[in-house]
């Protein structure tokens, strides 16, 4: 599991996750995710390269998203694959944190 981040135009922080968000993967990304969420105002979580999302991985998304939201910031989930999106939908996440497959649409959510 890998995690990288970059600052985009418009004050957007893009966090790209790469790998399996299972128990081991969640443990790898948790600290950095929480550090980023501690300061980001507009957070784009790029899930394009996440090939598995379990409930421990969901925690690694929900907790930082809640932190950003509690400071008045915005979060968007970008480009999950079909199964990962199905997990997000089943858990009811997609109705609370927007999911977008087009980068411009994702950026518009954060605008």
């Amino acid at each position: 599991m890998q995690i990288s981040s970059e600052e985009m135009a418009g004050g957007i922080t893009r966090v790209a996750l790469d790998g399996r968000m299972d128990i081991a993967g969640a443990a790898v990304v948790d600290l950095k995710m929480n550090l980023i969420a501690g300061s980001a105002k507009k957070l784009l979580i790029d899930l394009a390269k996440v090939d598995f999302l379990g409930s421990m991985g969901l925690r690694s998304i929900v907790i930082p998203a809640r932190a950003v939201n509690s400071r008045g910031g915005k979060v968007v989930l970008f480009a999950p694959n079909e199964m990962v999106e199905s997990v997000l939908k089943t858990a009811g996440i997609d109705t609370l944190i927007p999911v977008r497959h087009d980068l411009d649409a994702a950026i518009a959510v954060l605008g």
Binding site: S55, R59, V62, T90, A91, L96
Partner: protein, 150 residues
């Protein structure tokens, strides 16, 4: 990703009640997936449900006390489904007795980890709970499309 494994996986996996041991499940399910030609989406569903079931046992059933046994057994039921049986010696707990928590209505209401039962009900084909004399048995079945099992 690992390459082809010439020897079939053991049908039974024994774990200790610690989250680290759950990392043993992924390669085991991958090997079973190769043996039974399980499609990628079904393997995803199996990994998801086993992670949820096993982490519940570790964290709640055994109260995060390590070194208690958990066994996972896999059997092919005919050619139509793979059946996983998870047994522990934890106090009785039927995860399906209570209705799943209501879907959250705001990000602040989101309870991390609170949606596990809903995920298992969505991604497993069949779920059964049985109270044993000294523990619990959870059965999780996953349909395998006929095309993958000629």
């Amino acid at each position: 990703m690992t390459g082809p494994n010439p020897s079939p996986p053991e049908p039974r996996l024994t774990l200790k009640s610690q989250l680290e041991d759950l990392t043993l499940v992924w390669p085991w399910v991958e090997a079973l997936g190769r043996q039974y030609s399980v499609p990628a989406d079904t393997q995803f569903a199996i990994q998801l449900c086993l992670e949820e079931a096993l982490s519940n046992i570790v964290r709640h059933g055994y109260g995060a006390q390590p070194s208690y046994p958990i066994t996972v057994e896999c059997a092919a039921s005919g050619v139509a489904e793979l059946v996983f049986t998870v047994e522990d010696h934890a106090p009785p707990f039927d995860p399906f007795a209570a209705a799943p928590p209501p879907a959250p209505t705001s990000i602040q209401e989101l309870q991390p980890g609170g949606q596990g039962i809903r995920l298992m009900q969505k991604f497993a084909t069949r779920l059964e709970y049985q109270h044993l004399t000294h523990g619990n048995r959870l059965t999780l079945a996953f349909a395998i499309p006929p095309t993958s099992n000629p």
